[in-house]
């Protein structure tokens, strides 16, 4: 069992858990993920590692309520435990001195991008970060991302805070500004990553995305997470999760993310009626 040391509600539907997991904390690197399972009847789901503390032997995960598992996870708090916490899995994000890097984070992925931006900054890169959310009440970690970035641009879809619009708009402006951009790292909902990749493609700037398909074991054993990158089938759990966004077959990714929509709906409704909890 893995004990929850701390729980924070970052925004209404996005939560942070700090978990006691010495082995994972010791090895975690930016861009890697864990697979978790709440209990005996639970499913295995992948969650990106947001941070870690090697002194305290703890790992932080940030997740959004989507299906049964994440809803159930959101009800746990400090002192509770989860059955399984496996990692760190996947390849770390490739970090070196590129020059100027734009880090784009959509929604809850700001938690994923912070350790990446920090590592890039420590390597001597100029880091320009863009973070976006639907509305002001869904924004979090602005200061955290700001503190590891040379420049931070915040957008909200509805204009309730900072700049109105979506993240691809400032991204495009930066690319057009004439400043030499050496790399873009875009993490967030798949549709956002696709449009970031489409935005950078005409400029020929290498764009890394972190894919989030359905997984089971997370160790290369099942092939559930297969995607097509540059026409070649890859397993996201062992070959990724980072890939060249210009090479990803996005339509295939979207289709495969929808495989269990019916079952996910059934499972969530069943849990809601049994638990009496309706968000």
């Amino acid at each position: 069992m893995y004990e929850i040391l701390l729980k924070q509600d970052l925004v209404p539907n996005i939560h942070l858990l700090k978990i006691a997991a010495p082995n994972v904390a010791r090895k975690a690197q930016p861009g890697q993920f864990v697979v978790i399972r709440i209990d005996e009847r639970g499913e295995r789901i992948p969650l990106t590692i947001a941070d870690w503390d090697r002194e305290e032997d703890s790992v932080i995960i940030v997740f959004m309520e989507v299906g049964t598992t994440t809803h159930r996870l959101s009800l746990l708090g400090a002192g509770d435990s989860i059955a399984n916490f496996i990692g760190p899995l996947g390849l770390p994000t490739h970090i070196e001195k590129f020059g100027t890097v734009i880090c784009v984070a959509g929604g809850f992925a700001v938690a994923t991008i912070v350790p990446i931006a920090r590592a890039l900054k420590m390597k001597g890169n100029k880091v320009i970060s863009i973070m976006g959310a639907r509305s002001q009440n869904l924004l979090f970690w602005e200061d955290e991302l700001g503190s590891v970035s040379d420049q931070l641009i915040v957008t909200t879809d509805d204009g309730s805070y900072a700049r109105k619009g979506v993240v691809t708009e400032p991204l495009k402006e930066l690319l057009e500004s004439g400043e030499k951009i050496d790399r873009v790292i875009a993490i967030g909902p798949s549709i956002m990553m696709k449009f970031c990749a489409k935005t950078t493609e005409p400029f020929g700037v290498k764009t890394i995305v972190s894919l989030n398909p359905i997984m089971v074991d997370g160790t290369g054993m099942c092939g559930c997470c297969r995607v097509s990158v540059g026409g070649v089938t890859k397993f996201v759990c062992v070959d990724g999760p980072d890939f060249d966004g210009h090479q990803v077959d996005w339509d295939l990714l979207f289709a495969r993310q929808r495989i269990y929509l019916d079952e996910e709906k059934l499972s969530l409704e069943r849990w809601q009626s049994q638990s009496g909890i309706h968000p």
Binding site: E43, T219, M221
Partner: protein, 465 residues
């Protein structure tokens, strides 16, 4: 001399129509009377060729004699002296090509049903000696520590043998339960998970520690293990990475690797969704590509989940099928349809990216290939479409690269298998042994157990030097 009794005692099984819709065990096991009748057929020949046919060298005539004499605790003791996993082996070993093939009565086509007797003894022990776990005389603790990577057949066997020799053993398992392919791969109806768990518990009762959720190569490296006080490491991670056909349409929704399909059903218990959280698609018309035991397992799972039509699509003919005869017969009895000499050309999808069919070639057999089997050749212009709404690729597995790619000094072949001594399993890296599918490529449970056993003996010798 008494006349040879050539009437093999058959084992009761669930009726095909009934078992095709449930996940309960197909074969029901012998009664005491049946076991003793079968044991009495053994002529106790002095040359005991059956032992030579057993990769773990069980004293087969010995335990059979004990059954005949009604001394079941003695049968348990003899069996477990060499085999820590008898309930598993009695069910999934291909005895027909091993101990039973070398039995002197095999010449009369009536070899002793050694596998069924082994199963009987294991089941008797579980029912009658639960707390005893058969007494094992443990050697004096050596103070040496061994790390075993993987808790499948190779790892469990190596760990049990090393513990019996007095070493302190820890198994590191990537998944959330121990047992490897015995848990995630082989279905409940062929190998009940309670039996695997009981035999894992037996290994633990020998003093073996089991660390779950530990992906060696990720959570910690082999060198981390060697640097943290383990004097030797045995690698038995299996050949866990699934192979696909590399034909168009393979990533359509509804197409699974056998590993994924079986893992969802067996390990994650998707057949009990939504009571368990992990879902699996229920196909109405399911095509399983492949002709091995795993293909039979996947086909029979799909049927039990509620499929109307299930096809085995295999490019050679039935003679070349690598699956056990028994499993092919079981599948056929249950209503699985065999599309032999048939090979997929491409999968066809609808506009929602769901598979709706598989276009296949008719095949014919040419000259024997490297495997000794006649090579299948596509007949030009023979393409036809099988309508399916789900497909499973059961084409075998290749080694997962996680450990080799993170371990300096561990040499691999061009197929990605770890290079190790054929007999003792010693790798090119100091203090590291390997065995099972990671060395041989996909093979059987018992061959992996044999490798684990031989490696354990070699590790013991190394540690005592």
């Amino acid at each position: 001399m008494a006349k040879l009794d050539l009437n093999r005692v058959s084992m009761p099984r669930q009726a095909p129509g009934l078992r095709a819709r449930n996940f309960n065990e197909v074969a029901l096991g012998y009664s005491l009377e049946q076991a003793q009748a079968e044991a009495s057929r053994c002529i106790q020949c002095p040359r005991h060729p059956c032992i030579d046919g057993c990769p773990v060298e069980i004293d087969i005539p010995g335990f059979i004699k004990a059954i005949r004499d009604g001394d079941m605790p003695e049968a348990v003791r003899i069996l477990k002296d060499k085999n820590s996993l008898p309930g598993i082996c009695g069910r999934v070993c291909p005895q027909e090509t091993q101990c039973e093939a070398t039995c002197v009565l095999a010449k009369k086509e009536a070899p002793i049903a050694i596998g069924r007797l082994e199963r009987y003894v294991a089941d008797w022990e579980r029912a009658n000696m639960p707390s005893l776990n058969s007494p094992v005389i443990k050697a004096t603790p050596t103070g040496k520590r061994v790390a075993v990577v993987g808790s499948g057949p190779a790892g469990l066997t190596a760990a049990a043998d090393l513990a019996k020799l007095g070493h302190s053993v820890t198994i590191f398992e990537a998944l959330h339960v121990a047992g490897g392919v015995l848990m995630y791969g082989i279905p409940e109806f062929r190998l009940p998970k309670a039996i695997v768990q009981a035999e894992v518990d037996y290994v633990a009762s020998l003093g073996v520690k089991i660390e779950l959720d530990t992906v060696v190569g990720k959570t910690m490296s082999v060198d981390d293990l060697l640097n943290s006080g383990y004097q030797a490491v045995f690698l038995g991670p299996g050949a866990g990475a699934p192979m696909f056909l590399s034909i168009p349409g393979e990533n359509l929704n509804g197409i699974y690797s056998a590993n994924e399909f079986l893992t969802r059903v067996n390990l994650m218990k998707a057949y009990r969704f939504p009571e368990y959280d992990t879902p699996v698609k229920i196909g109405q018309r399911v095509g399983v590509v492949g002709g091995g035991n795993v293909a039979m397992d996947a086909a029979r799972c799909a049927l039990r989940l509620g499929a109307e039509e299930v096809y085995i699509i295999y490019r050679r003919s039935e003679v070349e099928m690598p699956a056990r005869r028994e499993e092919v017969e079981n599948a056929r009895e249950e209503g699985i349809q065999f599309k032999l000499l048939t090979n997929p050309k491409r999968f066809i999808g609808n506009d929602q990216n769901w598979v709706v069919g598989v276009e296949c070639y008719e095949m014919e057999l040419g000259e024997p290939d490297a495997s000794g089997r006649r090579r299948p050749i596509a007949i030009p212009g023979s393409e036809f479409i099988i309508k399916v709404d789900m497909a499973v690729a059961a084409l075998g597995t290749r080694p997962n690269p996680i450990i080799p790619s993170t371990t300096d000094g561990l040499e691999t072949s061009r197929w990605g298998t770890i290079i190790a001594d054929e007999v003792i399993g010693k790798t090119t890296k100091t203090a590291v042994w390997a065995g099972g599918d990671i060395v041989t490529g996909a093979a059987t449970v018992i061959s992996a157990m044999g490798a684990g056993k031989r490696a354990a003996a070699s590790i013991d010798e190394y540690l005592r030097r």
